[in-house]
């Protein structure tokens, strides 16, 4: 497994090694980047991609199955589903990013504090993380919605708090691993002060998995947020947010399968693509070892 590959020794080239930067970019990964790219453009400039106005009601065209004119079909008001999926990207992506940012902030504070402090404080924070774990994300979100009312902000807070303990535990582990590593010991032996070691060595290294967590987290957060909207407790239906579309389409499920399948596909593809990219970044960060 660890046997070094035999590399043919050739003349040294001065060419810039482009293939090196792209190594590991498999076709699946290229597809993942394409999907994420598509949805990011959709979120920023939906008018560029959408063939129709997402709110344009046209009752004569209601509930049409996918055709060339409407590749993803039309909904009960004759609105183009493709255009609605494209316009929905902004809301979904915004919720996903905001919830993940909140979640990672909570996780960083808890994880770093636990990792750096002594046994007692670590124990207390660890218990706290465990308490958060006892609340499944969906239930916590439902509790928040019940108390504070449905809405984008409630959704972001609920998903952010609900997904925080998992990340907190990971970051704590990372901080502990770095704290006990050889180079931190070496820095200590060199007489560097503790705050300096924390600032220069422990924090930067403990932050490394953050990019990965962010990528994976956004996909997860979008899935949760859409789930709540699907239950009718998130973003409300006239909005083209993906989960809200699923909620609105549920009534027509026996006649118009595309109303459920298509926005759902957007969620699944987006989440899968983000996961693939996150895993790829993780592999690269771990430094070439498979």
């Amino acid at each position: 497994m660890s046997a070094a590959p035999i590399t043919p020794v050739g003349p040294a080239t001065t060419r810039v090694d482009v293939s090196g930067a792209l190594r590991g970019v498999r076709p699946g990964l290229a597809l993942a980047f394409a999907i994420v790219g598509f949805f990011v453009v959709s979120a920023l400039l939906p008018a560029l991609l959408a063939p129709y106005d997402p709110f344009d009601v046209n009752l004569r065209d209601a509930l049409q199955a996918p055709t060339l004119a409407h590749p993803l079909g039309t909904d009960q008001s004759g609105r183009d589903v493709l255009s609605r999926v494209i316009y929905g990207a902004r809301e979904s992506l915004y919720i996903g990013l905001a919830a993940t940012a909140l979640s990672l902030t909570i996780a960083l504070v808890l994880g770093v504090a636990a990792g750096l402090s002594g046994k007692f404080t670590d124990g207390v924070i660890n218990r706290f993380i465990e308490v958060l774990f006892a609340f499944p994300v969906l239930l916590l979100a439902l509790l928040f919605v019940t108390v504070f009312g449905a809405g984008t902000t409630t959704l972001i807070v609920a998903v952010g708090v609900g997904t925080a303990p998992g990340y907190a535990r990971m970051i704590r582990g990372q901080v502990l691993a770095v704290k006990n590593s050889g180079y931190v010991e070496a820095a200590g032996a060199l007489g560097h002060s503790y705050p300096r070691i924390v600032r220069r060595h422990i924090l930067p290294n403990a932050m490394r998995p953050l990019v990965v967590l962010l990528t994976l987290g956004v996909g997860q957060a979008i899935v949760w947020a859409s789930g709540l909207a699907f239950l009718g407790l998130g973003v409300a239906p006239p909005s083209p947010e993906w989960g809200a579309q699923l909620d609105a389409g549920r009534t027509y499920i026996t006649q118009a399968w595309w109303l459920e399948v298509m926005p759902g596909l957007a969620i699944v593809w987006f989440a899968l693509a983000l996961t693939a990219i996150g895993r790829w970044i993780q592999q690269r960060l771990e430094g070439g070892q498979r």
């Binding site: 218990r127 706290f128 006892a134 499944p136 439902l142 789930g227 699944v268």
Partner: protein
């Protein structure tokens, strides 16, 4: 033995903290609760007179000091009292008790199905030909990423509406349990499968596997009798952890398939802002989660006696 006592104490602390958290989230309810309650009942939004509010405040204890309410809440929990529903005016424990069985069956059926699928995948696709291996792990990655609500809808559209193999509305029949259970089981199977696969691959490199093979044991037997036992350990721990996700999924599956159960109550209560019901269910789930993980933890010590910290 001392460590077992500590574990139990730890679980109690977690439960107390969870109850405290739930209480304060409830206490943060904006506006006057008695007004909200009356307005929800009548479907109006207006200011209520003190005479209207007084009996409600009296009944639910809203006018007591917060510390007193907190003590009452904790005391209630300790004796199995989860409060009174704002909407139905019935004890929350009663409401939950009436509907919990279908949800428990669904969750258990899903857990069993997930394990069966995950084990079959691990046993038959790990370390096989490239194609089989890719198919196996590809299925795991894909299914682990499927949101319950979407998978449920797809299963419903394909098997109930298009093919008419299953009823569209499940009811409580055993037959109607299959699609909802699969909705929960498939993503969980993908998740468990990924974990057992990793572990299984590591175990297959162990010397005792080589020695079993050297003794002439067949490939399937080696996998079944030796490797699997080691590979399932981490997934057992994760099953305790997965209960939460499973319950969340159950809520969604019940809505998708219009099944009776906690999910229906929960969503109705959340829409009606019936805080005690939602908080009560949250506490029950947290309780089950803590107990399940405590049991997994203790079971682990029995399965693997090396852990004695």
């Amino acid at each position: 033995m001392k460590s077992v006592a500590l574990k139990i104490l730890g679980a109690l602390v977690v439960l107390w903290a969870a109850a405290t958290f739930t209480f304060f989230v409830q206490a943060a309810l904006p506006g006057d609760r008695a007004t909200l309650l009356l307005n929800q009942d009548s479907g109006q939004i207006k200011k209520r007179t003190a005479a209207e509010l007084a009996p409600i405040n009296e009944e639910f204890g809203f006018d007591k000091p917060l510390v007193q309410q907190y003590a009452d809440y904790l005391g209630g929990l300790a004796t199995g009292d989860l409060g009174i529903s704002y909407q139905k005016k019935a004890p929350v424990t009663e409401i939950i008790g009436e509907q919990i069985l279908p949800t428990v069956w669904l969750t258990l059926a899903a857990l069993v199905a997930a394990w069966v699928i995950a084990l079959l995948l691990t046993l038959f696709t790990t370390r096989r030909s490239r194609v089989v291996k890719t198919l196996g792990s590809g299925f795991e990655t894909l299914s682990a990423a499927l949101p319950h609500y979407w998978l449920g809808v797809i299963l419903l559209v394909v098997f109930a509406i298009q093919l008419s193999i299953f009823p569209v509305e499940g009811g409580t029949s055993l037959y109607g349990l299959i699609l909802p259970a699969l909705t929960l089981a498939i993503p969980l199977a993908g998740f468990l499968g990924q974990v057992t696969r990793d572990e299984f691959e590591n175990v297959l490199d162990e010397p005792f596997i080589t020695s079993a093979r050297a003794r002439g044991m067949g490939d399937f037997e080696v996998r079944w009798r030796h490797a699997l036992r080691h590979a399932v350990l981490p997934a057992i721990t994760l099953s305790g952890w997965a209960l939460g996700a499973l319950f969340s999924g159950a809520v969604i599956a019940e809505i998708v398939f219009a099944r009776q159960g906690i999910g229906q109550i929960l969503v109705t209560a959340a829409n009606a802002r019936d805080v005690p019901v939602v908080a009560g269910i949250v506490m029950v789930v947290a309780f089950v989660y803590v107990i399940a993980n405590l049991l997994v933890d203790l079971a682990y010590r029995i399965v693997d006696p090396r852990i004695q910290t």
